[in-house]
């Protein structure tokens, strides 16, 4: 009997679907180290997503607009409810909050350059505002987080908007982490921490809990900034109907809803994969909440978590969002996961496209690192150019789809322009299953 010859008296060796290769490696890793797995990025499992929706392009019953010639607006105004100085953007695609600390100074600069060229905003992160970031971002949203690392009223007044972070999609209910390798001298100084320690961020704000007290916090922030700046409230998608309702009641100008595909600098794997809901499932109840309060389009809704293409942007807008935010995709545009770095990723036990050990700070692309030599590899001008290109493509793709549906502005996309490809997506979005006028839960089929 040769090695290549199958012994028909025996079955093939077979992996368990329950205990698959990755699961086995998880158990082995846990047994060897005794501590939970920490990584960066967002969820990696397959989830119902925008791919499960399709646009109904115009044909006989609707008329399309001519591509390239007939106007299709993409501008968006955020913060029209209370703020004296709302934010004007040329594209409904913004850059999500990512900290200096999680990212290198070069990466932050590149984000600012790219976003400014495209006419959109960037957002600070846990750890405060760097002067470089302020300089390179024409429109900068300042995150106000539970840790309050680097929180400074001067920066608050320098910002164009303030985003109060209640949670993020990768870990609703959890606090942030930054491991010692990334607490460089500058990061430590900004966050008032000892160099090289593993930072533990709080999961609740230190001086308020719940929407009734948040309302008072917002009053303080407005009093300090002369009621000029839009107040965003960011929540991780888990109970969007209630969370969005309460954000509005607490006085938000803008609500930011981050689905579970949203990335993080470093969090427990179990959190990333098992807490929160996909953005596809979260938008409809969020929009419902705004409509029930008579606040849809008055309090703007920004959604994030797995936005990759202009189709995702257009679908999010059609479901009722006013704008989207990108994080992971922006890092890829800068140069993260590049095939040019295959051999270096291999040295780290990864491949282009799988690298997620952002917490270690060894990123060969110079993005998720505080190592000066690695960070030097990212040219902020070139990176900014790539991001601007990518933002242009997202905008043009969304426009193309909007025109095909006969819209002269991307904000005129509506749920009736969409159908669902799967039962799950139909149930989550209450869009009809393609070819029918029915979704699960709707009587009469």
């Amino acid at each position: 009997m040769t090695k290549n010859h199958h012994d028909v008296t025996k079955t093939f060796p077979r992996y368990s679907a329950t205990f698959d290769e990755f699961t086995i490696s998880q158990i082995q890793r846990a047994a060897a180290t005794g501590i939970y797995d920490i990584r960066g990025g967002g969820t990696k499992r397959k989830l119902p997503h925008f791919d499960d929706l399709l646009f109904l392009g115009a044909s006989m019953s609707r008329y399309p607009l001519e591509g390239y010639r007939e106007r299709c607006g993409t501008d968006v105004v955020l913060g029209t409810r209370f703020a004296k100085k709302p934010i004007y953007l040329k594209t409904p695609v913004t850059i999500a909050g990512m900290s200096f600390g999680a990212l290198s100074a070069q990466a932050k600069e590149a984000l600012g350059r790219g976003a400014t060229a495209a006419g959109t905003s960037t957002t600070t992160g846990d750890g405060g505002m760097t002067p470089e970031e302020r300089r390179h971002s024409a429109t900068l949203v300042y995150q106000y987080l539970p840790s309050r690392y680097g929180m400074n009223p001067d920066d608050l007044r320098k910002a164009d908007a303030i985003e109060i972070v209640i949670g993020q999609g990768a870990k609703p209910g959890g606090g942030g982490m930054l491991l010692g390798q990334k607490i460089s001298e500058r990061v430590a100084k900004m966050r008032d921490l000892p160099v090289g320690i593993d930072q533990r961020s709080a999961c609740r704000h230190p001086d308020w809990t719940g929407p009734d007290d948040l309302e008072i916090k917002i009053e303080e922030l407005r009093e300090i900034t002369n009621h000029e700046k839009p107040i965003y409230i960011k929540v991780g998608a888990s109970r969007p109907y209630y969370d969005i309702s309460l954000a509005v009641k607490a006085g938000a100008d803008v609500v930011v809803l981050d689905g579970m595909q949203g990335g993080t600098a470093a969090t427990q794997e179990v959190f990333i994969e098992h807490v929160g809901i996909p953005i596809l499932a979260a938008i409809r109840p969020a929009v419902q909440a705004l409509q029930d309060l008579g606040m849809h389009r008055k309090v703007q809704l920004v959604v994030s978590g797995g936005i990759r293409t202009g189709a995702d942007v257009a679908k999010a807008l059609a479901l009722g969002a006013d704008a989207v935010a990108i994080g992971t995709a922006a890092l890829i545009a800068l140069g993260d996961q590049s095939p040019d770095l295959a051999s270096e990723y291999a040295n780290l036990g990864a491949k282009p496209g799988t690298y997620d050990d952002w917490q270690d700070g060894h990123d060969p692309a110079g993005i998720t690192t505080q190592d000066p030599e690695l960070a030097q590899r990212l040219d902020p001008i070139l990176g900014g150019r790539r991001l601007a290109n990518y933002l242009s493509v997202l905008t043009m793709e969304a426009q193309t789809l909007a025109r095909a549906c006969g819209k002269s502005h991307v904000h005129n996309l509506e749920p009736e322009d969409l159908v669902a490809l799967t039962l799950e997506a139909a149930a989550m979005t209450q869009l009809p299953l393609a070819g029918t006028n029915w979704y699960p839960g709707k009587p009469g089929y």
Binding site: G34, Y36, D198, D207, E220
Partner: protein, 224 residues
């Protein structure tokens, strides 16, 4: 001395005046527990709030000297950068939260989470403090002339905590340290800055971080 009266002027107007002045003495009347009083000041003014104040009194103060002749709600002097805030009564929870500089003095007691996430300011409490005080406090000093509640200094970084009275319990990673001459000097000078001359620096205990949570380790997993 200029008088600002909350019965006749709205909060926005009073704060706007204080935020735009460069110097002088101001008195706020009829505070009645209002929130966000005298927040975001940047100049070295002297402000007296004549009564009880609500949440975030003197929040994010820079340079101003603010006295409150009464009790204050949550988060007094939160994220103060510099200057001083003196509460003549008691303070609710999260007094001096995340404050980065300046001096906060509380003549009465402070509630839970006093000095939470402290980032460099000094806080002197003549009375006692509630539970979870100095939680995750990063730097600066917290002086407690009375007693401390449960879980004092939980997940502490580099803040020094001085307590004269009893500590109900210490939080994870907080331990008593030996009082060094340098500690004693800091304590004496803080008591002096706070205008406390009838309580001597002797008899205080000093607490700090045991630093066992500074790096994730399997044997500490239950403390995270």
């Amino acid at each position: 001395m200029k008088t600002l009266d909350l019965r006749t002027a709205p909060l926005r107007e009073i704060n706007r005046i204080l935020q735009n002045e460069h110097e002088g003495f101001y008195e706020i009347r009829n505070s009645s527990g209002q929130h966000a009083l005298a927040v975001g000041l940047t100049a070295p003014l002297s402000v007296t709030i004549d009564g009880h104040a609500g949440y975030y009194a003197a929040g994010m103060n820079q340079n101003a000297r603010i006295i409150i002749n009464g009790n204050v709600g949550q988060g007094v002097a939160e994220n103060m950068m510099s200057g001083s805030v003196h509460v003549k009564g008691c303070a609710s929870s999260s007094a001096g939260a995340t404050a980065q500089g300046g001096l906060l003095v509380i003549d009465g007691d402070a509630g839970a989470r006093c000095g939470i996430s402290l980032k460099g300011a000094n806080i002197v409490v003549r009375g006692s403090v509630g539970h979870m005080s100095a939680f995750m406090a990063q730097s600066g000093n917290l002086v407690i002339c009375g007693d401390a509640g449960d879980a004092l200094g939980d997940s502490l970084y580099e803040t020094r905590i001085f307590v004269k009275g009893k500590v109900r319990s210490l939080g994870a990673d907080c331990e008593e340290k030996e009082m060094t001459p340098q500690d004693l000097e800091i304590l004496s000078s803080l008591l002096n800055d706070a205008g406390i001359h009838d309580i001597s620096a002797s008899g205080f205990h000093v607490y700090g971080s045991a630093r066992t949570l500074y790096h994730f380790h399997v044997d500490n997993a239950s403390a995270y």
